[in-house]
């Protein structure tokens, strides 16, 4: 295939060529970055929480009516969880101050000595009793669970530091990288030490925001019931397959205990709901980028079809002459395919620069990750295939131009 005549012909269609090159370049820049954003968001929203999501639900319980004392609230919480645990559809239940993917909550700095000024880590705090591990369904991989006699309660703005804590493997590793965390102390913004008595495999933090990414699995469990006037969460784990039944029965069982309470429907719920809420932005962004990429590729393909069709129409006579002089149909087909390859190739080269530039802007402005070369490769391949696919129909039409066309005047 001769490239020179193709270039010569393109020189006569400078404006059209430049426009297609530009369109392909811009499309590549946007599609590469969009695909990369989609991948990042999907990876983010499929991070595991480490808990038994299929059977879990969370009841957001707020206290109503006459203000209660700390002792009254604590007694009510004990009665509530006892009632929940008696439900036939419930495997276990525990009170807590938070749940994974809640979207924010209590976190505290941790040091290894009482005098330490710059903390070793930040960690999410989950309050609960000796049933919390079972209720969440997290796996204890070392040490032991809390004993019932270790569980206390904490009232409004009391600053209680528990003598024993359970930490996640990630946090244990961050604090004691040599793997010796069990039995060692940690200092949670206090001069009082807390001894690590257990390590769980995985438990995600309450926030999935970007700032939390560095601490995503740094969490700890404190043996405390939050007897605050505001309220708390009941984390309920249903027996397999009975979650919906448990979700219906649990509020009734609690109202039977005491009607002076409010369940906040916008907070908690089944874990499917919680997960959907936590990752709304990520899912939305992935959908938007997907739709824009798809429509963009369609429009670019249609643009190539349209413009090439015009060129074919314009050149019918020349094609006829070539055919009359002995060119075969596949030569004509090859001509248009090669022409498109050259144009798309030019567009792709320019597009790579634009794609990297756009990614740099996203990195600087929105602290996103630098794009991986794989996505540039996928984008380039996609557009080259798109160009060839789009040009095929007009090129076939051109190949069918009969040699006799050469003898006809326009």
């Amino acid at each position: 295939m001769q490239i020179k005549p193709i270039l010569a012909a393109l020189r006569r269609h400078k404006a059209g060529t430049v426009l297609i090159v530009l369109q392909i370049a811009l499309t590549l820049a946007i599609v590469c970055n969009a695909l990369f954003i989609i991948q990042q968001r999907l990876a983010h929203l499929s991070e595991p929480t480490g808990i038994d999501e299929a059977n879990l639900f969370v009841l957001s319980n707020q206290w109503a009516g006459e203000p209660m004392s700390k002792a009254q609230i604590d007694a009510q919480i004990r009665a509530d969880v006892a009632a929940l645990r008696q439900l036939p559809s419930v495997l276990d239940a525990a009170p807590s101050n938070a749940y994974p993917l809640r979207g924010g909550g209590w976190d505290t700095f941790i040091g290894l000595t009482p005098e330490q000024v710059q903390p070793t880590s930040d960690a999410a705090v989950y309050l609960g009793d000796e049933h919390l591990l079972d209720a969440l369904g997290v796996k204890l991989i070392a040490g032991r669970n809390f004993r019932a006699d270790e569980v206390g309660s904490v009232g409004l703005r009391e600053n209680v530091i528990p003598p024993v804590v359970i930490v996640t493997r990630e946090l244990a590793h961050r604090l004691y990288p040599d793997g010796s965390a069990l039995g060692k102390p940690l200092y949670a913004m206090s001069a009082t030490p807390s001894t690590i008595i257990g390590i769980v495999e995985r438990l995600q933090t309450q926030s999935v925001d970007a700032w939390q990414q560095a601490y995503a699995y740094q969490a700890m469990l404190w043996p405390l019931r939050g007897a605050w006037s505001s309220g708390l969460y009941y984390i309920v784990r249903a027996r397999p397959g009975q979650r919906d039944a448990a979700m219906r029965e649990a509020p009734k069982a609690l109202y039977a205990q005491n009607r002076q309470r409010i369940f906040d429907a916008g907070d908690g719920g089944s874990f499917a709901q919680i997960r959907a809420r936590a990752y709304e932005r990520d899912r939305g962004m992935a959908i938007l980028m997907g739709v824009i990429s798809a429509v963009l590729l369609a429009i670019t393909a249609a643009g190539i079809v349209g413009l090439t069709s015009f060129w074919v129409g314009q050149r019918r006579k020349q094609i006829g002459v070539r055919r009359a002089l002995g060119a075969r149909q596949r030569d004509i087909l090859g001509y248009f395919l090669t022409e498109n390859l050259l144009i798309t190739g030019g567009g792709v080269l320019l597009g790579l620069l634009l794609a990297v530039g756009m990614n740099l802007w996203l990195v600087v402005r929105f602290s996103m990750q630098p794009i991986s070369p794989a996505y540039l490769g996928i984008g380039v391949l996609l557009l080259l295939l798109l160009g060839q696919g789009a040009v095929l129909a007009p090129a076939l039409k051109a190949a069918r131009v009969p040699p006799v066309e050469a003898t006809r005047s326009v």
């Binding site: 404006a15 426009l19 530009l22 707020q62 913004m189 709304e280 932005r281 643009g303 349209g306 060129w311």
Partner: protein, 436 residues
């Protein structure tokens, strides 16, 4: 003549229905994507109080020091001690402290279940400072603040829910087990973003249910429903210890008239911080900030990055659609070079060629705009899939957006058509006539 050109244009467009449809769809999709993302962006990035945003400031005082502050910036809120000191000094025209509270309420007369209500503990100046409109009654007085009065102002929606919208001023309401006397009911008021209580909230919540005196809320030990942030090794235990601690949870606002007063207030803050250093409370040089509403919105990054990225990508998409349209129009126009040659030879000036082809392009743009409008309307209902509900709800198709949509489509298409039309007008009559 223009009518004739319009008919000519339509005839030309009808000759290649597929191509015309492609151009109309490209413009339609491009303008719709831009409009939908712009509607969301406009909703989240607007100035919530344009008349006064230059005069309302939130003071920040670094009570944490260089070891604990936020990369050199003071904490986002004040602790109780500093907050009360600012109120006592009273160096501003108007001033308030605020924090969010959540209280339960039992609907009157019914034996139904209690419901939750969201409100703020504020000072009486809050209402005139932020131009809160009243339906019934009004603010509580500075005297009420002093007396820690059990007064409350309800929001219109909350008053509707509890009292069916009747004038409830003077009645009593029990919130969280405590009795309050209703002194006012606001009209619907929900500035978005909710600039005055950004810390710890997304800024796009439902309208506020009630406002009660800050001084009373402290007496009743109403805990904050918002953020509380501590540093170091807080060694307090209980409510009073918490109030005296360096934990921050109170947002202060001051109204200052003009640059002179703002400069004065800044000096006052520096002086206050220097006094605290002399008194031994702070062991570091004064580190204070005084940001107005717009600066505060910017600093707190209220506009979600998703919204900005989506807008930029959508605009890029629109540009590509336009490049696509330029190419197609160019091909379309140049195919009629012979026709143009004849017209020019018969004496048509270039101006007429421009008019004819730009009109043809404008009709494509208008059709694209109408399609874009339909797509935008359809997309608005799908916005909930793309953004969080409280933000998606803000985006709506109003009159200005409809106008902008059509205008953007037509103007962008005209701009895109300019080069093809110019090329058409440059056609040499002699050259075209010769080749035929």
């Amino acid at each position: 003549m223009l009518g004739y050109y319009f008919r000519l244009g339509l005839r030309s467009l009808r000759r290649n229905p597929a191509l015309t449809a492609l151009m109309v769809m490209a413009i339609g999709f491009g303008v719709a994507a831009s409009m939908i993302t712009y509607a969301v962006f406009r909703a989240v990035s607007g100035n919530p109080i344009p008349e006064k945003s230059e005069r309302l400031f939130t003071p920040q005082i670094d009570s944490w020091g260089p070891q604990h502050n936020i990369h050199g910036e003071p904490p986002y809120a004040l602790n109780y001690v500093d907050a009360m000191a600012l109120m006592r000094a009273h160096q501003a025209t108007r001033q308030t402290l605020l924090y969010p509270v959540w209280l339960s309420v039992s609907p009157e007369g019914s034996r139904g279940l209690p419901v939750g209500a969201n409100g703020y503990a504020v000072y009486g100046d809050f209402f005139p400072m932020f131009d809160v409109p009243f339906l019934y009654g009004g603010r509580w007085s500075a005297d009420d603040d002093q007396r820690h009065a059990a007064a409350v102002v309800l929001g219109e929606e909350f008053n509707q829910r509890l009292f069916g919208g009747a004038n409830s001023v003077g009645r009593e309401i029990v919130l969280g087990g405590h009795a309050f006397r209703i002194v006012g009911v606001t009209r619907h008021w929900n500035p978005r973003p909710r600039f005055f209580a950004l810390w710890g909230s997304g800024g796009f919540a439902e309208p506020t249910d009630f406002y009660l005196p800050f001084t009373r809320a402290i007496d009743l030990k109403l805990d904050t429903a918002g953020n509380n942030s501590c540093r170091g090794q807080p060694d307090f235990s209980g409510w009073d210890g918490w109030l005296q601690s360096t934990c921050v949870w109170i947002t202060p606002w001051v109204e200052l008239d003009g640059d002179a007063q703002a400069a004065h207030y800044r000096r006052f803050l520096e002086g206050y911080a220097a006094d605290q250093r002399r008194a031994g409370r702070f062991a570091w040089a004064p580190n204070v900030r005084l940001r107005n509403v717009v600066q505060w919105l910017d600093y707190q990054q209220v506009v979600p990055p998703e919204s900005r990225i989506a807008l930029v990508v959508a605009l890029g998409f629109f540009v590509i659609c336009l490049v696509n349209t330029i190419g197609l129009l160019l091909a379309k126009f140049m195919r009629r070079a012979g026709e143009i040659g004849v017209r020019r030879a018969l004496g048509a000036p270039r101006r007429q060629i421009y008019a004819q082809y730009l009109l043809e392009a404008a009709s494509v743009g208008l059709a694209g705009g109408v399609l874009g409008l339909l797509l935008t309307a359809a997309g608005m209902s799908g916005v909930g899939l793309l953004f969080e509900p409280q933000i998606a709800r803000l985006a709506r198709l109003d009159f200005s957006l409809v106008g902008l949509c059509l205008l953007a489509a037509v103007l962008a298409t005209l701009a895109a058509a300019f080069y093809p039309a110019w090329r058409a007008a440059q056609v040499q009559p002699a050259w075209q006539l010769k080749s035929h």
